[in-house]
């Protein structure tokens, strides 16, 4: 190993520091509009923080070796006849296994958190049916149904029960980090708690977008999501049932 070994290690540490700083300041995601979205974004941050040193370590050794151990064309010298090293391989295996177990733990805990809220009794049940190419949204308790938008009250736990009339679609609201396929012949469900008011016009990520290829009109299978106060929501339901 010797002195040359510590140079790429130092390089990896430097790269890690820079990488972590960049990763901390980096927020590429749509603004959060549901409680549960924090779990996904938190998981993303943890995974990124773990990924940066791995990337830095491999890159540093790769670049250092390529530059340091070059040979000129035509120069036919062999490297040392080293076929491996058990301590190095065992250490490597130990480190990668530990990292993987940490990743598994992070994922399992995050999933448990999402599951936990999904299984709490909802304040509101909404039924959504996908069809080529639109969404039929109904509020069974109020007897209201529309295909123009999904309106939700802020601060209430909502369970959406999803199915499809024809082919497989996928119900996705980017700002909620919530997605579930709409499958003909079965009912799937997803739960979330909107935590701020808003609408598609100001915030393009408040939309129900079909995320599973469903034919010609797939790209256009989008309806707006509008999150309103409890009061406005009741009023809207009343208006809708009068029109129906």
């Amino acid at each position: 190993m010797g002195r040359s070994f510590w140079l790429p290690v130092l390089g990896a540490l430097g790269l890690t520091a820079v990488g972590e700083a960049v990763a901390l300041g980096f927020d590429p995601f749509p603004p959060v509009a549901a409680e549960e979205a924090r779990v996904a974004d938190g998981a993303f941050r943890i995974l990124t923080a773990l990924a940066v040193p791995v990337f830095a370590f491999v890159l540093s050794f790769l670049v250092y070796s390529a530059l340091r151990f070059r040979r000129r064309p035509g120069e036919q010298v062999d490297g040392p006849p080293v076929h491996g090293s058990r301590p190095v391989a065992v250490t490597w295996l130990g480190v990668t296994t530990t990292l993987t177990l940490v990743l598994i733990a992070v994922g399992t805990l995050g999933l448990e958190e999402i599951r936990h809220t999904a299984h709490l009794p909802p304040d509101l049940v909404v039924r959504v049916e996908g069809m080529r190419w639109g969404w039929q949204v109904s509020y069974p308790e109020a007897g209201v149904s529309t295909n123009r938008e999904l309106v939700l009250p802020v601060g209430r736990r909502v369970r959406v029960e999803v199915t499809s009339r024809d082919v497989v679609h996928s119900f996705w609201i980017p700002a909620f980090r919530a997605k579930i396929d709409a499958v003909p012949g079965m009912v799937t469900s997803v739960a979330f708690t909107p935590n701020r008011t808003g609408g598609y016009r100001e915030d393009p990520d408040l939309r129900v977008q079909c995320a599973e290829l469903c034919g010609t009109g797939h790209a256009l299978m989008v309806i707006p999501v509008r999150i309103v106060t409890e009061e406005e929501f009741r009023q809207w339901l009343a208006n809708q049932s009068r029109q129906m």
Binding site: V58, F69, D78, G79, V82, G84, L111, V167, P174, E212
Partner: protein
């Protein structure tokens, strides 16, 4: 020269007419309308396929003897052998390489069409249906390339050479696997004429049953391709198990051969599952069965499980041989033994095993039983352990090596960089909470292009340059090669890093139109993609020009130890003048006098021409 192909087309057409005619007659006799295009197509296709194979040379060089007739002699030389049923594994390797390079370039052009449509929001040049058709065709073209370009091309050319055999175990079966490919191409082009198919290469039902007729062409093509893949896997396993030269024990196998062995285990045993899924998809469409139609009691989710039970292992059919190539190139061009050889072999076999129990990570949002989420997340994350071992081997070999930074080595290093990003981003898709958001977005598109294009295709390019002198007998242009490498590396990373960003910002995959808020990132991706495409022009110029006019290469320009370099370039029929003997590890660098294998050098050259160890200072 093209006579066998003409004969194949004629016999194929006759076979098709016989099959379709019979089906029409049966329908007429049973009181149904004889004209049912999809039924006739499905009934005519198998006899048509058999007719094609017989015409293109199977009859002359193989089947005649089943009927007691003397088999015709295969003409040994001339360019004609590339255009008919030929059993020489080197000819078949070149057939695969040229065919799938052409398919790759065609698939690339389709990608450029997609980027043209996506340059700005709104429905543009292709239209919604047109975009879906182009995207679906791009998908299946590139899947076919990824499965066959290394395993069909380089494995065919190299496995018999590297194990010191005259040919593969079943040469005629090998020719059969290749000649199943042209009907696949014909069907895919036919699918466009029949209205295209809009399901992507995944062909999920019930959509697959509602699609234009092109869907049926696609399903038949995929089925045929899978058959070819099974036969190929069988052949490589038999060759590696049975035809190794004396002394070539399992622990002396070059790592590329191990990688082909591992990938072949998967193609031999997993492909049947997708064949079943496709067959039942066809039956649902043509015969009105209800395997996946909920109205008749079928389950759309069942198809997804069957499909991914093959299609996830399939990504290891693509990437494990790429690992093999990269480690091979790094060891020989660093002139150092492969680091942790046994650990890597163990890693390959572990990957084969794990690849069979990770499929449902494609379905975290599919509505499958929630109890499956954690087990599949765990198995998927576990794959990073053997994959990490491959990185250890690469870095350990480079360390204190004598690295020749030429074109093949640069592509091998480029593979490590790209695959590192591809592997790390895979973690975000294995993790359920983040995958729920990323599923079906450009994050996924970017991830698998990093592993397959930045990974496998970079390894393929490393292989093209590393074995170019062996296959063509000529040297490539090093300057053009380096230009292509840097151009491709920069273009590739610009294009696909931006796609991660698009995906995180909410860009759905497989769409022709998107929200105007995503206009800027899509414009940048398109420009970067057009730039990336330019690097492939350099590639084509270099390969075509060097193959025709390049300087004649020595038998062993890299001074490499493995057996394929111990014969002339290109190798003669039968590969070696006499049966080679293997004496030591293929990575016997750094020990004066150590020799991997002794082979009588065929083709008139002499061992003196090669790199000799006396030159060492």
């Amino acid at each position: 020269m093209l006579l066998p192909i003409g004969k194949g087309l004629l016999f194929g057409a006759l076979g098709f007419l016989v099959g379709a005619g019979l089906a029409g007659a049966v329908r007429l006799l049973t009181g149904r309308a004889p004209w049912a295009p999809e039924v006739l197509l499905v009934a005519g296709y198998p006899p048509g396929l058999v007719g094609w194979l017989l015409g293109v040379g199977m009859w002359d060089y193989w089947v005649r003897e089943w009927f007691g007739l003397p088999r015709r002699e295969e003409p040994a030389d001339g360019p004609g052998r590339f255009f008919r049923f030929c059993t020489d594994h080197k000819v078949i390797g070149v057939q695969y390489l040229v065919t799938f390079t052409a398919v790759m370039l065609a698939g690339g052009l389709l990608a450029m069409l997609m980027r043209l449509e996506l340059m700005q929001p709104g429905v543009g040049v292709l239209g919604l249906a047109g975009y879906n058709a182009v995207m679906s065709l791009h998908g299946i073209f590139m899947i076919a390339v990824a499965v066959a370009i290394i395993l069909g091309g380089f494995a065919n050319f190299l496995v018999p050479l590297m194990v010191g055999a005259e040919d593969v175990a079943f040469p005629r079966l090998n020719a059969l696997s290749y000649w199943l490919i042209p009907p696949v191409a014909l069907l895919l082009v036919g699918s466009l004429l029949a209205g295209g198919f809009e399901t992507g290469w995944t062909a999920y039902p019930p959509l697959a049953a509602l699609n234009p007729r092109g869907e049926l062409f696609f399903l038949l093509a995929f089925l045929t391709f899978g058959f070819s893949s099974i036969l190929g896997g069988l052949n490589f396993l038999a060759t590696i198990i049975g035809l190794r030269a004396p002394g070539l024990t399992w622990s002396r196998l070059p790592i590329f051969i191990w990688s082909v062995f591992a990938a072949s285990l998967i193609s031999l045993t997993a492909t049947q599952f997708v064949a079943f899924a496709l067959l039942t998809d066809i039956l649902d469409r043509v015969a009105g069965t209800a395997f996946y139609n909920p109205a008749g009691g079928g389950k759309p989710l069942l198809y997804q499980h069957l499909f991914w039970f093959y299609s996830h292992p399939a990504v290891y059919i693509m990437i494990v041989p790429a690992f093999g190539i990269v480690l091979e190139v790094i060891a020989h061009l660093s002139r150092k033994p492969l680091f942790a050889y046994r650990w890597v072999v163990g890693a390959f076999l572990t990957i084969v095993f794990l690849s069979f129990i990770v499929w449902a990570h494609h379905q975290f949002t599919s509505g499958m039983d929630e109890r499956l989420h954690v087990p599949f997340m765990v198995t998927t994350e576990l794959i990073s352990i053997p994959t990490g071992m491959v990185f250890l081997a690469a870095l350990g070999t480079l360390w204190e090596g004598r690295i020749l930074l030429n074109t093949p080595m640069l592509f091998a290093l480029g593979f490590l960089f790209n695959f590192l990003i591809g592997g790390i981003t895979g973690i975000f898709l294995a993790d359920v909470p983040t995958d729920i958001q990323f599923q079906d977005t450009y994050f996924v598109v970017a991830h698998f292009h990093y592993t397959i294009m930045g990974g496998e295709i970079f390894a393929f390019l490393a292989a093209v340059y590393y074995w170019f002198p062996k296959i063509t007998g000529r040297m490539f242009n090093e300057r053009l090669g380096k230009l292509q490498f840097w151009w491709a590396l920069i273009g590739f990373n610009l294009t696909f890093l931006l796609m991660f960003w698009a995906g995180m910002r909410g860009m759905t995959r497989r769409v022709a139109d998107y929200h105007p808020a995503l206009a800027d990132v899509n414009l940048l991706i398109s420009l970067a993609a057009f730039f990336l495409a330019g690097s492939f022009v350099v590639f084509v110029i270099n390969v075509v020009h060097s193959w025709a006019r390049g300087p004649v290469a020595a038998a062993n320009p890299w001074g490499a130890t493995t057996l394929e370099w111990q014969t002339s370039s290109p190798p003669p029929h039968g590969n070696f003048a006499c049966r080679p003997k293997v004496l030591d590890s293929p990575y016997s660098y750094g020990v004066p006098g150590a020799v991997h294998a002794v082979a009588g050098l065929a083709g008139g050259s002499d061992r003196e021409d090669q790199f000799s160890r006396e030159e060492e200072p």
